[in-house]
């Protein structure tokens, strides 16, 4: 079979501002889901390590259900399922909720591991020094815990950004949806998806650089015991 296909990137170049809009929504959705997902995960990790039994049981069920079903099915349940209970959602909002629910479960397990790595003596020492429980939590538990699991947590966040392409299935206007729209108008599928794949790769590297920067700002302190 002869390869006589001529590449034509004109369709892609003509709609670069539309692609940029899509990429921007992908970034917004991702950052929003990372922040909200982190809050969900910290609360769930706390509940799982020190909550009463029923709470622990509910959190475990949440984690297992999310981790053992596909993201796409979770999106469908939220976007098509919730309206039947009278909750109307825009595709963008449904996408954000699905992403938070999804990343929250994975991040809970990661942060729980971090919290469990904090030695009891550290907490007791903090309380003995007269710190309030909230201060102990903030300075002695959660910050060192996040520092310990930082690499695992941030790679989970990058996976979240990449998997956000799946929300195109409910036509939220993010990067992949935009690509699908351009594709259906111009039929230059291969060119468009190559460029969009490149944009995702660039976004992944950008987030990775951003996370390295945040680490330097927030966590790069000396922990050597002397």
């Amino acid at each position: 079979m002869p390869v006589n296909y001529t590449f034509d990137f004109k369709a892609v170049i003509d709609s670069w501002d539309y692609l940029l809009q899509g990429a921007w929504l992908t970034v917004q959705l991702s950052i929003g889901a990372m922040i909200l997902g982190l809050i969900v995960a910290i609360l769930c990790a706390l509940g799982k390590t020190s909550g009463p039994k029923p709470i622990r049981w509910i959190i475990n069920a949440y984690i297992e259900v999310v981790r053992n079903t596909p993201f796409l099915v979770q999106i469908f349940l939220i976007f098509f399922g919730l309206p039947t209970m009278g909750v109307r959602l825009s595709p963008d909002l449904a996408a954000l909720i699905a992403m938070v629910v999804n990343v929250g479960a994975y991040a809970t397990e990661i942060i729980r591991a971090g919290i469990e790595s904090i030695q009891k003596g550290q907490i007791e020492a903090g309380l003995a020094l007269g710190l309030k429980p909230l201060q102990v939590f903030r300075y002695i538990v959660i910050k060192p815990a996040l520092r310990t699991v930082y690499p695992a947590l941030t790679s989970q966040f990058i996976l979240l950004m990449l998997s956000s392409s799946v929300v195109s299935a409910i036509s939220a206007d993010e990067l992949t949806s935009v690509a699908n729209n351009i594709q259906s108008q111009t039929f230059r599928s291969f060119e468009i998806y190559i460029v969009v794949t490149g944009i995702y790769l660039a976004l992944a590297m950008m987030f990775s650089a951003l996370f390295a920067g945040i680490y330097k700002l927030a966590f790069a302190y000396d922990t050597d015991r002397r």
Binding site: F71, F76, S189
Partner: protein, 217 residues
């Protein structure tokens, strides 16, 4: 015309499970075969080979799986091949799985203590024998729990084949939902079916991991 959700619809969903399992099995076997070579290349002594394998892994881990499936699906047309969604999904998932398994197994190969390599080459084993008889048998033990864990990820990933039009479990759910308009029920059942496939594997992976951790303590 809205149909009621009946036993027939349930059977349709249930029979779609076989396509999800078939796709997972093909992607796993294909991905494992290619992934072994990726893992070997990633731990090679030759720098160019190592770099190529690293690039391959980063490319697949740094881009969305959905884009990879689209590129295989539409790329085949560009090459003058006519791939149906089934073949495109199988090929795309195989390539993706090979990158992930390659990276998982790289870690397992590198977990074999350096002294084993030195002892094997001191005994006069060359690379194929050294790998075959000394390194890989030890690496396999470490590799089982994370590989089972990856299987869960792979089964879930096959749901994306629905987007390029292959009728596996998720696509079957969409079809039934379009006819019955009972999204909670339909996708709820779909989710339960995935859960029944994935959860035992997750438990097994965690159990193997604990057993391995005990054995090496």
């Amino acid at each position: 015309m809205i149909r009621a959700f009946s036993y027939n619809e349930f059977l349709f969903l249930l029979s779609a499970v076989q396509w999800t399992l078939a796709l997972s099995a093909i992607a796993f076997v294909g991905g494992a075969t290619v992934g072994l070579f990726i893992a070997l290349a990633r731990t090679s002594d030759i720098k160019a080979v190592r770099l190529a394998a690293t690039g391959y892994i980063q490319l697949f881990q740094g881009t969305p799986l959905l884009m990879q499936l689209f590129l295989v699906f539409f790329g085949a047309t560009v090459m003058g091949l006519d791939l149906n969604p089934w073949a495109a999904a199988a090929l795309g998932l195989t390539l993706n799985a090979s990158a992930f398994l390659g990276e998982i197994w790289r870690g397992c190969i590198q977990a074999v203590p350096r002294g084993q390599w030195e002892a094997a080459s001191a005994l006069g084993l060359r690379y194929p024998g050294l790998m075959r008889y000394v390194i890989l048998p030890q690496a396999v033990k470490v590799a089982v729990p994370p590989t089972v864990g990856f299987l869960v990820q792979l089964i879930k990933s096959t749901s994306l084949a629905a987007i390029i039009g292959f009728t596996e479990l998720t696509r079957a759910g969409q079809i039934v939902n379009n006819a019955t308009f009972q999204p909670f029920l339909v996708f709820g059942i779909v989710a339960v079916l995935y859960f029944l496939m994935c959860w035992p594997l997750s438990l097994l992976s965690a159990r193997l991991e604990r057993r391995y951790a005990l054995a090496t303590r």
